[in-house]
Amino acid sequence: MTVTSEKTRIIALAGQPNTGKSTLFNRLTGAKQHVGNWPGKTVEQKSGNFVIGDRPYQLVDLPGTYSLTANSIEEKIARDFIVDEQPDVVVIMADASQLERSLYLLAEIKLLNVPSVLALNMMDVAEEQGKDINVEELEKGLGIKVLPLVAAKGEGVLEFLSAIEAVADKEIKTDTKADSIFKDDKLFNSVKSVITGKINSIFPEDWMVIKLIEGDAEVYGEIQQKISSQEWNKLFTLLNSVEDGQLHAAGLRYEWISNVLSKAVKKQEAVEKKSRGKRFDKIATHPVWGKVLAVLIMLFSFGAAMIVALPVMGGMQPLGKFLVSAVNSGLTSAPQWFVSLLADGLIPGVSVAIMMLGYIFGVYLVFSLLEDVGYVARLAYIFDNSMTKLGLHGKSFMPLLMSFGCNIAGVTGTRVIDTWQQRMVTLVMVSIVPCAALWAVISFIGTIFFSAAMPFIILILLVIMVLHLSLTSYLLRKFVVPGETSGLIMELPPYHKPNWKTIFGHVWVQVKSFFKRAVSLIAILSVVTWALSYRADGNMDLSILASIGKFFDPVTSFLGLDWRLFIALCAAMIAKEAALSVIAVLYGIGGATSITSFLLGGAAAGHAELASTIGSMVNPASALAFIFAFFFTVPCIGTVASIYSESKSLKWTFGSSLYYIVTSLIAGGIAYRVGLLIF
């Protein structure tokens, strides 16, 4: 058949989580991907293009969901897309090794009357399990074209593409007789007889009927408007005749699936190999050894992230220094302020952003790997109990953990949490966790003043952190986002080999969005800080920045922070490391003249001098106050920007920032008072 129209066809990719959707997506679209958010939502939308023959196709990846209720944003997005956009083909992805459960989504989509095919992934695993799947029987039973696949190895992809084309060309018809699932159900038929012909909706009638039975709020509202109150009463009595509509509908769907599978799948005695995964899982989910293993894996992960980041971080530092000295020596004829703008403001700012980028890349790479092989779900399981004590559940563990590496990664990591309430609570909590850069500053200052007592101080900081986390969670759940706390129901997917394409795809998206979001902000903030502190005569004491600091002095000195330390606290918004260089400059140490110069490491000599001078200029109680305030203060600008892009709410962004400022000043103030008693 010759293709005359070049109109791009839309293919929607639906499927439950862990069925290999993104593997297939990457295989089909390669590098031609577009990643953004669903309009007005903070749910990631991926789409990509490919061609079959001459015709362009657009593949839209729907959020991975187990069903299609209106209860979660993801599920609503998926069903609205299918109904509103009427894609040419809906590909439903299922896991051949867990067919019974993963066909549930198909049983739902079937009622939406759209041309669809079933992509049956992980055929190799099913085979290992001793399952003999008869594809023709399955097609007959399900009423749609079935394509066996091993997406990870690319097996079956060609056949898959030609089937997509055939379905889109309407050469293969989808048997959309939805009533084969519910046709013998008394309730279904009675409800249908009440509303039939009276509802003019974008949703098919059978879908409306079953969603009424399930008590779907959206469909309820729509129907109530369209029928008389008499009919509504009749419906109401009918719907109340079963104990629970959701269980009723789900039961019928699974019954239908079981019937189809009983004809299509022959299970031989499984070739039960004691797989390595099983033995590992025994340890990974053990109440004691699981935690030991988790701690080891976490330590190893942060180490690995650091190693991955080293080339970028180690390379950027000398490059930045080189650029600074090149500007200083090369631009002798340019005005002094301009040279200073470049050498003290822009170059160090951008360099630090790029070094952060390298680090974030490392953190995402390592944690995406853990996610991809299936270990993260085990972490959530193992630490669910501890998280429950914080009013959260297991899925919040990963974002909090990643925060120890980088708060930005923690913030974006909250996407995996399924309820909005828990997600927002976790979102605010992750920034209370100290990131790696913050530790560097804390331990540097701490060792100067409290060398031997430092482990003790760190212990206290961690204890306060846990209390702070509990209190924050409590306050948020009590006053800001009240609602029932839902417990854990989470699939523990089978372990599998890492799929590097998927992993790098994910890392690339995260790093790119950090780049877009944060690099410019960090650069701008560096330049602003530079502008506020610049004096042609180099006397920082008279700069605007200094007068701002001195303006707040009455308040901050009450908390034990003199204006220099206070400014250092503020400048840490650029990046936590900036605090050190600000201190160096404001205390006039080591000939440091620019606030940002230390970002590029005034290196060892500078640090040593800083250590000896600051020790004599700041009293221990103030240093203690600074450590505590610094530990809990607002995260860096990159994190704040991420909070905004994840919450899409200025209220949450500013509200949380203000909260961090207030709590950190309280922490600093108390530490100061206690410090005064001790020292």
Binding site: S67, L99, Y104, G215, D418, G487, I489, E491
Partner: protein
């Protein structure tokens, strides 16, 4: 018949009844928890969530959630 959280590791049965709010039920049913489904308990310690297996899938389920699921013990 007893609730799922009272099953020991290794025990199995058939789900009889599930109670709870609408959101819980919709999550639970989508994950495969429905009356008449075969279920076996893989791990049930003294605290924390359980690991169960049903419909070929391993699922971690909170203790509170598990207590809302009534299961009939399999005949040994």
């Amino acid at each position: 018949m007893k609730s799922l959280d009272l099953f020991a590791s290794g025990e199995s049965g058939i789900i009889e009844k599930i109670s709870g709010g609408g959101k819980f039920l919709s999550r639970a049913t989508a994950m495969g928890f429905t009356p008449e489904a075969d279920i076996s308990v893989i791990r049930n310690g003294r605290r924390g969530p359980l690991i169960v297996k049903l419909r070929d899938t391993e699922i971690a389920i909170g203790r509170g959630e598990a207590s809302k699921i009534e299961v009939k013990e399999a005949v040994k």
